[in-house]
């Protein structure tokens, strides 16, 4: 296993910059998710680590060795693709053996490794089948097995779960996590699904527009988003972002105002922002039935019970926001509610730069 280091990596397609000055260190044995919406540069980044795309600038090193000019096969990496990319004309056994054959490994050793991977992934009974005779989940396991037999320094995974149905995806998610725990493998995992990144990764690199937005543990990214994009991308439902302006004692929007703790206010003042975005997750909003000092009035638009938790779409001045409540509480559309924000979990972002204050 090995450390992967990206320094000032750049890649453009024509005029557009797909990856813009990306620097990232993935520690030995770490599971890192590159996460972001379509077109954020995450797959381009993965393909550059794999050696399937050339860099326009910067440097990539694996295990301390610069790999910019190395072929994929010389980088000691294995890759799992979104559509599994199993060789359709080969049996599962031959699919698993292929990367070893290409390296000229002895027959006995190939058989041993294939059997071991098959046992580990519980696909021993599928070895003589062709890929088209397998279910999506089985194909996914075979694809994983083909990466595993190589015993590579780094596993690269390109949205490996996105073609599975929801139930199977949850199951494979925990299998992948166990796979990582057992192997202590360095894994770079690309996904557009923030939940996948949150649940599996040791650290997540949130990308947007080719730029790295934040690189930290899922807990910290969730609790302390570096900017408004990360705040709105990570977490489901997304963090509420409410436009407001700074006042003497706190912030105000149209028709509401809120006093802020002095420390938070001072931080916002220091940044010199006039316009701010108030960031608050649904769980940090208390719902009170009557006017209370320090609470702001909102109105219920719709109620969405999900069983465990009930989500409410609310209207605060000219802004819409989502709050949540226990399922045993009842609300009716049009009803007024007083929102009490948990001050320790409030976020402020500069309205212009969208950076956290």
């Amino acid at each position: 296993m090995a450390e992967v280091r990206l320094e000032n990596v750049r890649k453009g397609y024509g005029e557009a910059l797909a990856v813009d000055d990306l620097s990232l260190t993935i520690a030995d044995g770490e599971f890192v998710a590159l996460v972001g919406p379509s077109g954020c540069g995450k797959t381009t980044t993965l393909n550059m680590i794999a050696g399937l795309l050339e860099l326009d600038g910067g440097e990539i090193s694996i295990d301390g060795r610069r790999v910019n000019d190395l072929d994929p096969k010389d980088r000691d990496i294995a890759m799992v693709f979104q559509n599994y990319a199993l060789y359709p004309n080969k049996s599962v056994r031959k699919n698993l053996a292929f990367p070893l054959q290409m390296r000229g490994m002895a027959r006995g050793e190939i058989a041993r490794r294939v059997d071991e991977a098959a046992r580990m992934l519980d696909i021993g009974h599928l070895l003589e089948r062709r890929p088209r005779e397998l279910s999506g989940g089985q194909q996914q396991r075979v694809a994983l097995g083909r990466a595993l037999v190589r015993e590579p320094k780094v596993f690269l995974m390109d949205e490996p779960l996105s073609n599975l149905d929801a139930k199977l995806r949850v199951q494979m998610r925990s299998e992948l996590k166990r796979f990582h725990q057992d192997l202590k493998a360095t894994i770079v995992y690309v996904t557009h699904d923030q939940l996948e990144a949150m649940t599996m990764a040791d650290r997540m690199a949130v990308m947007h527009g080719g730029k790295l937005q934040q690189y930290d543990t899922p807990e910290r990214v969730y609790a302390h988003p570096a900017n408004a994009f990360v705040a709105s991308f990570v977490g489901s439902p997304a963090m509420n972002l409410i436009p407001a302006r700074l006042t003497e004692t706190g912030i105000a929007g149209d028709g509401w105002q809120l006093a802020l703790p002095p420390a938070l206010l001072a931080r916002a003042r220091q940044a010199g922002s006039a316009g701010v975005l108030l960031g608050v997750r649904h769980g940090a909003i208390g719902l009170l039935p009557a006017a209370t000092p320090g609470a702001v009035e909102a109105r219920v638009l719709t109620v969405e019970p999900t069983g465990d938790i009930t989500f409410l779409n609310l209207r605060l001045g000219e802004s819409a926001l989502v709050a949540s409540a226990a399922p045993d509480r009842h609300f009716t559309p049009g009803q007024p509610l007083w929102l009490e924000f948990d001050m320790a979990r409030l976020h402020l972002f500069d309205a212009a730069s969208e950076l956290a204050l």
């Binding site: 994929p72 294995a78 693709f81 559509n83 060789y87 088209r132």
Partner: protein, 292 residues
Amino acid sequence: MVRHRADYLYVAPAILVMGLVIAYPVWFTFYLSVFSTPPNLALEDKIFVGLDNYGRILGADSVREASLNTLVWTVASTGFAFVLGFGAALALNRPFRGRGLLRGTLLVPYVISAVAAAYVWRWLLHSDLGVISALAMASGLRSTPFNFLDNTDTVLASLIMVNVWKEFPFVMIMMLAGLQTVPDQLLRAAQVDGAGPWQRFWHITVPHLGNVSLVTILLLLAANFNGFTIPWVMTGGGPAGASEIWITQIYQLAFGRIRFGLASAYSVILFAVMMTMGYFYVRALVGKDRPS
């Protein structure tokens, strides 16, 4: 059944036309093949001879020679056209400057009329007046003209060369279309797995092209087996029958010597071979849709 009656009405005109232009001639050929016909157009004077015509065709020395020629002509034309066309497709599949122009240029042999091409090639290969001989002599490469078409040893090879030139673009188009459906992700996976360009070609591209190759080869085999224009226009089967193939012999028998009965029996044999090929063609086409 009642509900479908109208359906038959709708397809009736098409069935009628097909019956007239396909089924009737086929049936009439079968019918004529069991008669001895006079060497004129008075078909009323034909005499029933059973399978005699078939016996005469299958026993004739000239047919045996033509059969060997037909085999060589069909297999060699198909083989060389396939190899050349596939090579061209591979070369043109990767992007380079001027690729579009080159693709267009290489299509020219396929789109020009076979008769025109055959005449031009006959002239190019002519031993006395041909450009190729003239250039070879003018440049001092040879002191005597090439004798491509008037030599029993080289005439068939020359015809095959022209035929390959004429039909390799067809292979190129088919294989280019096939190459463009090779999934990029498979090639990338193989690249990461350590396969070099040649191994990727062998393990990914070739298996993926299996079906399109099979269909292309079967279409070529059928077209060449029936390939009349080039041999007929360029040599008419000569010299001394050295470039005679089944189809030119049938034509000569029917419309040169006016032996319709004999020519019909010969045609039925050719038809049987073609239908066998057709069977494999259809099987190859539907085979890939069949669940395993």
